[in-house]
Symmetry: C2
Subunit: 342 residues, 2 copies
């Protein structure tokens, strides 16, 4: 193989408070030769998720933290350009946790975040990072398996214009929810949720009284709350639940960049008073059922019943900057970065 | 019936912050004659539970608040002394939500807190208020139906020397938990938990480093946490859960007398990271299965496998004072007040 220069964004220092571009450093070096059983992938798209912020903290969690000096962990999709592995032919499009780098050498085996996946024929590669990727699958499993969405549910979704929230809200609608309302920031996102994603209503947390609007939309209460945000929004939603309501905790982006953990929800005793069930979950526990989820999601996408939005930035040099867009609330739908042409 | 003077403790004013004796007033007046289908009960024992504090607040909850000027709601056990109801003969011992009064007139029908129950033959009347009463049944259902206690569980119980916690912890032991540890206040309660109630260990929150002691007792984590306290103890326990652990929220006595709701647990994102299930519950939803619970509890009590403690104060004039003992942490086991001799 001709000598290739690789570029990687590595973790320079653990962020304190809001993550900054300077917490990462760009390193260029010659790409090594793939070893036995290994292949080389040229990354086309990098995906960004709020949960990645948690991987930068040196704390016990569901995966080890990214080490100082290590290439930042992230999902990507790209093309196999060299291969010593009979399972992956040159020219194949694959998706996996290949990190913030132009080229990745991998064995394709399963790590704590799952194995390399081939992009199915006829599927746009970046779909493997959005509706069919970690965020889409998280939305599906969170709503179907964890939230046990059922016909007649009254559903509230926070972070509803994000990659996970927007799919979760639509899965609720497709599974027969009586009402689905999303909470998002700004009129553009709220308009998209109602006019494009088919939600019954959207609440703009930046300009509206959240509690009042939730009460208006759900006079008989929320039977299922799918939370991506935490903080004040979770606290207010807890006051609006039906008896025996379910709360799915998917994430809490409002606190990911806080130096000190902010207080939890003052209204948590509503869990007792309203006899709620609150469940947390992580995608990796559900990957064995990924086939079912991908089948359902792809069917809805192909029939036009489920739409998805992608916010595609460009240029490998903009990798950390693109990550920050998540915490600035700039993205509508999945935040992606295109770093090379397929 | 000879004219009888009744005495009642009525709610004078809604408590602000810590409940005070002066929030209640003692009223004496002649007892009315029982109407058609009604009976008169002479109360012998009054039971006290932390949840009663919540009934004094004018907020939406699982039962309506006690009204200003109304007799304080509470479980009692007493003797039928007059009856126009063929279901309840004079001389029968009965238990029900008959309130802070010497004599009660009741139809015996079900209200939001359940109907009048006859004390089974051979059962000490006050047992209907403790191990076989609201707190004992709450402990049983919370551990068995809500917590789904199973063999091998590693169980932590807060408020473990209270009426509910002490039964919950022992039910866990009897159902095959691998380890049961209680958190309580002071050496006397901790000693009782280990030496009498058969727990594996007790943590004294007043003198020990709770987090450190939990880690010592549960190096592999807590699989089931039964919480009666909330606040700091809940926050710390959340950091010690196993993956897929369960948290049963039974109550949160630490905040019942706070004027402003204190912050919730900062560590609530552990629910996501550790994939926890947190469930709240209220006894009234489980009363249809009360027979099963009473049968199990009575069997264990009669065989000596489950012990229960009662803190019995005396004198109707001491009713509000006895209620306050709960929030001062003075009671070991069930707080009762004896107001007349059986």
């Amino acid at each position: 193989m001709t000598k290739i220069m690789n570029a990687q964004w590595r973790l320079r220092s653990r962020p304190v408070g809001m993550v900054k571009e300077s917490d990462f450093e760009l390193v260029e070096e010659a790409l090594a030769e793939p070893g036995e059983g290994e292949l080389v992938v040229r990354n086309h798209f990098i995906a960004f998720e709020p949960a990645m912020r948690g991987w930068l903290n040196d704390v016990r969690s569901y995966v080890p933290p990214v080490g100082i000096g290590e290439t930042m962990r992230a999902s990507t999709v790209g093309e196999v350009i060299a291969s010593n592995n009979p399972d992956y032919a040159v020219g194949a499009m694959v998706s996996g946790m290949l990190g913030w780098q132009k080229y990745a050498i991998t064995s394709g085996q399963a790590g704590p975040m799952g194995r390399l996946t081939k992009v199915p024929d006829g599927v746009a590669p970046q779909l493997m990072l959005s509706a069919l990727g970690a965020t889409g699958l998280t939305a599906y499993f969170g709503m179907v398996q964890v939230g046990e969405i059922r016909e007649g549910d009254t559903v509230l979704v926070s972070g509803a214009a994000g990659a996970t929230g927007s799919v979760a809200a639509q899965v609720a609608r497709l599974k027969g929810a009586a009402k689905v309302v999303g909470i998002a920031g700004g009129p553009e996102k709220c308009k998209w949720l109602v006019e494009k994603a088919g939600l019954d209503a959207a609440i703009d947390y930046k300009s509206e009284d959240i509690s009042k609007r939730i009460r208006q939309e759900f006079p008989d209460g929320v039977s299922l709350f799918y939370d991506n945000v935490g903080g004040e929004i979770l606290d207010k939603a807890l006051l609006a639940m039906t008896d025996f309501g379910r709360v799915v905790l998917c994430g809490g982006i409002s606190a990911y960049n806080e130096e000190e953990l902010p207080p939890g929800p003052s209204n948590y005793m509503q869990i007792v008073i309203r006899r709620l069930t609150v469940k947390g979950f992580i995608l990796i526990d559900h990957l064995a059922q990924a086939g079912e989820a991908i089948g359902s999601l792809l069917g809805w996408i192909n029939s036009g019943e489920l739409i998805h939005a992608e916010d595609i930035q460009e240029g490998f040099e903009n990798t950390p900057k693109t990550f920050l867009r998540l915490f600035e609330g700039q993205n509508l739908g999945k935040q992606l970065l295109k770093i090379s042409d397929p």
